[in-house]
């Protein structure tokens, strides 16, 4: 496969860690969905993990803050913490801008 093709077909595997349905987590999820629809249509998977129900998962991804968005694939792993209100920062963090050019 060609590198270019590969890049085109990359699937963004995103995990959003939250702790209950707080205002911050709701905002974060809404923001994330909006950015993905806009920039990564059909190329993303969002998994929401509620630490209140699965606390044992916090250590695995080194989660301290909530909400935390973890981008596992494509590499490198990046974490974005906060309610994702700054679109610019989120897009940089998810390496979305770089793939578009």
């Amino acid at each position: 496969m060609h590198a270019v093709m590969n890049e085109e077909k990359d699937i963004w595997e995103l995990r959003l860690y939250i702790a209950g349905k707080t205002a911050k987590s709701v905002t974060a999820l809404a923001n994330l969905k909006r950015y993905c629809e806009e920039h990564l249509k059909d190329r993303y998977v969002i998994e929401v993990i509620d630490l209140l129900t699965k606390p044992q998962l916090a250590a695995g991804d080194q989660i301290l803050a909530v909400p935390t968005l973890v981008k596992k694939v494509p590499e490198p792993i990046r974490k974005i913490i906060g309610d994702l209100s700054n679109e610019e920062k989120v897009l940089v963090g998810l390496d979305i801008r770089s793939t578009k050019k």
């Binding site: 911050k24 916090a58 301290l64 990046r78 974490k79 974005i80 989120v90």
Partner: protein
């Protein structure tokens, strides 16, 4: 001391529960440990032992007090941590398997993290809460939470979250240690002390004259009395040990039991019984006066009684001392082999005074000797000022007296003017002070010894000549003659002279006796001849008398015969 001082510190009200650390000495200073169910801040510079302190708290809690603990590391990976403390005999992996402790390494990398908008640290709470609940932890360490400040930008959120974290930990009722790096002019770089109001302990690692000393100080302990001094502590193969600097009282028990000094003639100077058990004895003198020999003799006597002795040598190696003592008839090797005698030789410059003190304490607690020898204390001056040495020795004496251990110090006097020498100022602290000094006269040097003081007993005020022989040490009465005090060969000459005098006199007396005897014999024979003369005279006289009587009797008889005859004629 341990019991006494902790009793003194412990408040009478059982209001504040404490969680013992198990670190020797620390629980005495804090009166029982860290505040139970509350956070304690341990702060200090790099390499001061914060992490070790906290890991020991967790491990000892799990092993000794059956309180499982969670160690949340923000700096070191758990494997590194386990490897670092393996040298102390803490098997973290096994403890983790047994679910008695839980290590959690929190990794934050600034490079992988982007912050946008509002967030909180609920993830950390959940993670910690999960760890605590999974093993039923009673103790928690956060080492060091300040790392968050370096990796997260939003200080406002951090501060409020940390405050919330500590409150949350209090609510959970876990005893927590939070470590913090010392900052410029503040206890911690990020002002963690603002949030921990219950107990703050400061660790320090101070270098003075190239000698390092670790010190611990309780800055604050709300709701509890505590020692406020800087306490030296030691990190060695058994972990931390803290030394309470001064015992607070002078109420240790005393005994009237006496123990021999190993020199019979010295014992004789002390009412014939020797020193009190548990007393402190200083032997001071100029170079080469036999101080070490006296100390060795004391050690020898101790071991011969079947008691244990520990010998701290700051000048000579153990082998050297053993060899030298053999030359005066003490075989110390036997006692070493029998486990009664232990040598601990180190250069004074090995570590600071406080460290020496901690080491001495530790060895004494382990070996439990009845007698301790410190030879010599003078060398300690190379690592501290006179007042520091004095305060260290005072604490050592305090400790030993409380434990009823007899101690012999030797000290080298620099000047020969006796009486002005203060011997590191300990002479007022000790119970007995022997002074050995050179006496130079008639082209030779001899040793004189006297007892400067000996508390609580009559003691000889005589200067004795101190003689080191192949069979041991001896004190000889000096000769007091018309020319003053005679010692050494002068004394021996004097003694010889006296012996000669006695022989001569003896001889003279015998001659006189014989003459008298002869005179007596002559006189007695004279008396005999006189008596005989008297007897012959007496006999002569008697004879005349008897003759007269005879004649008269015969004449009487004749007359009667004549009368009878005449009557017959009628």
């Amino acid at each position: 001391m341990s019991l006494n001082s902790s009793k003194q510190i412990k408040s009478s009200l059982p209001s504040l529960l404490k969680s013992p650390t198990g670190i020797p000495g620390l629980d005495e200073i804090t009166g029982g440990g860290l505040p139970k169910g509350r956070p304690t801040l341990i702060c200090g510079g790099t390499g001061c032992g914060k992490t070790l302190f906290s890991i020991e708290f967790i491990v000892r809690g799990a092993i000794e007090f059956n309180e499982p603990g969670v160690f949340m590391a923000f700096e070191e990976k758990t494997e590194e941590l386990a490897a670092n403390v393996a040298s102390l005999g803490f098997d973290l992996d096994q403890l983790q398997k047994d679910e008695r402790i839980k290590l959690d390494y929190v990794h934050i990398d600034r490079n992988e993290i982007e912050e946008t908008g509002e967030y909180d640290l609920e993830g950390l709470f959940i993670r910690l809460g999960y760890a605590i609940d999974s093993i039923g932890a009673k103790r928690v360490v956060l080492d060091t939470i300040e790392n968050l400040f370096a990796n997260l930008n939003n200080e406002g959120i951090l501060r409020s979250e940390i405050r919330r974290l500590f409150n949350w930990l209090k609510e959970k009722g876990v005893t927590t240690i939070i470590t913090g790096e010392k900052g410029e002019g503040t206890l911690t770089r990020n002002g963690l002390e603002e949030y921990v109001s219950d107990c703050v302990i400061l660790l320090d690692h101070r270098i003075n004259n190239q000698i390092s000393t670790r010190l611990l100080r309780i800055v604050k302990y709300r709701g509890s009395a505590h020692g406020t001094n800087e306490y030296p502590f030691l990190i060695d193969e058994d972990g931390l040990s803290v030394l309470p600097v001064t015992s607070l009282t002078l109420d240790h028990a005393v005994t009237t039991e006496r123990i021999s000094s190993g020199i019979p003639s010295l014992d004789k100077m002390l009412e014939g019984k020797g020193f009190y058990r548990g007393s402190s004895i200083l032997v001071s003198g100029t170079a080469g006066t036999g101080k070490t020999s006296i100390a060795g003799s004391f050690a020898q006597a101790t071991c011969q009684r079947g008691e244990r002795c520990i010998y701290f040598a700051f000048e000579e190696s153990p082998n050297q001392i053993v060899r030298n003592m053999r030359s005066i008839g003490f075989d110390l090797q036997v006692h070493i082999d029998a486990g009664l005698l232990q040598f601990h030789a180190s250069r004074p410059t090995l570590n600071g005074l406080e460290m020496h003190l901690v080491t001495i304490h530790k060895l004494i607690r382990e070996f439990k000797p009845q007698v301790v020898v410190v030879d010599p204390i003078t060398n300690l001056i190379t690592v501290g000022s006179i007042s520091e040495v004095r305060s260290m020795l005072m604490r050592l004496i305090d400790f030993l007296q409380a434990e009823q251990i007899t101690v012999v110090f030797t000290a080298l006097s620099m000047n020969t003017v006796v009486g002005e020498q203060t011997d590191e100022g300990v002479s007022s602290l000790v119970d007995a002070w022997l002074l050995v000094r050179d006496i130079e006269s008639n082209g030779e040097r001899n040793r004189g010894m006297y007892i400067m003081k000996s508390r609580g007993m009559k003691h000889s005020n005589q200067v004795r000549e101190f003689v080191i022989t192949n069979e041991g040490l001896e004190l000889v009465d000096v000769y007091l003659g018309a020319e003053g005090v005679l010692i050494g060969s002068a004394r021996e000459a004097q003694q010889l002279q006296e012996a000669t005098g006695v022989a001569l006199r003896d001889h003279a007396v015998t001659r006189k006796d014989r003459e008298v005897e002869r005179k007596r014999l002559v006189l007695e024979s004279k008396i005999a001849s006189l008596r005989e003369e008297f007897e012959s005279v007496q006999e002569e006289l008697n004879k005349a008398f008897v003759d007269e009587e005879l004649r008269q009797a015969i004449m009487e008889r004749n007359r009667e015969q004549i009368i009878r005859n005449r009557h017959n004629d009628q």
